[in-house]
Amino acid sequence: MPSHRVDAGILSQFNMIFLENSIETYKSPSIFIEPNHNIFRMKGKDTISFLDRISTNRIEKSSSIYSSETVLTNNKGSIIDVLKYKTLDPENIIFTFNINNKETINHLNNYIILDDVEISLEKKVIKLSYFSKNKNIPIELINHSSITNLDESFNYFRYELFIDKIILEKVFNLNSINNLTKSEKNLLEIYLNFFDYESTLSKINPLETGFQDSISFDKGCYVGQEVIARLYNYKKVSREIIYFKTKEMFNINDSFNNQDNISGKILSIEKNFDFFVGLCLIKKKDITKLKKEFILI
């Protein structure tokens, strides 16, 4: 079961309490719905071998009701996208992306040279994020979800269900459960240290962003493997995710350099009372320079 939970570093107690207080007001369970997600199908006799050769995880048949995750990287080991997938049989995989852009499909298609693999749009779905303090979830949601991802952090469970909208409305009363706003959902995910790859990010390595569980270190070569394996084996992963707070708004992928000469990159950000809080990447060697309150500006 993949989990994106990362060991985020220092967040001031003061700020943490504020964030915790915000989160505690959310009812459990709560949901957040995002429209316009696509599920694709990869079909052909080389399907498993193909995806295995171009992404980080070992691709194999699984009987789990939950999806697996694999990361597409370029030959420098930087993330292109993250696939949540389910192997239906040796010739069929259905999958969805963190980001729904054509570039990822083009990336996959560019690698189909001689392989018997065809990629097509399977269906349009909505993404239902279901946050709960216990693992229970209405069975009708699981039963009707094409792809179901489960993560756990701080005794919170996050289900991501990719479901046909019409079917969902038939089997589940969406008004019977607390609906989070986008801001509330973002704050909850920041608090839980869930980092989801965004299209605006670049030059991010899966090892520094909590995707270790989605990397096979013994399956052999895949695109980007040489860099990723070297960083892992020589313990050269130089950056780490930590919480931050700031008075100013930043955009995702913005670089920063604060008054203590700590530089890094913004991964996620959301307003929380008078501050913005979020997750960022900084160099591990700078961790010791951090004050209890890590304030950018």
Binding site: F50, R53, I54, N74, N75, Y111, I112, I113, L114, D115, C221, Y222, V223, G224, Q225, E226, V227
Partner: protein, 115 residues
């Protein structure tokens, strides 16, 4: 040596040819050819494929050199045009070695490349 190879073909060294024939003999093949192809994978994105096969596929380009038939799928040919295939043995030998002018970079072991 590679600069002399026209881009409308690939070349195979005598030593590599002999090695292919030796492998084919070990597999008791009488009529055979060497399939040279490229597929996705390897650390750099594209990996070389070498295979001893009985006959070319319909869309293969066929080249004869050193008494050996080489079959190259047309889709792979754009990545291989002008390539020199050599073989080095011994303790420090790399085995079959591709010197490919289309490769912008290759991985440490030389089995894969990017264009």
């Amino acid at each position: 040596m590679t600069s002399k190879i026209p881009l409308n073909t690939i070349k195979i060294s005598e030593k590599a040819s002999e090695k292919v024939k030796e492998f084919a003999k070990n597999q008791s093949k009488v009529k055979f050819g060497l399939k040279v192809a490229v597929r996705s994978g390897g650390c750099s994105g594209l990996e070389y494929v070498l295979e001893i096969v009985d006959a070319p596929d319909e869309n293969d380009k066929v080249i004869s050199q050193n008494g050996l038939q080489i079959f190259i799928p047309k889709k792979a040919y754009i990545f291989l045009a002008g390539t020199y295939l050599d073989f080095s043995d011994g303790l420090n030998g790399k085995g079959f070695e591709f010197i490919n002018p289309n490769a912008k970079s290759s991985c440490g072991c030389g089995d894969s490349f990017s264009v």
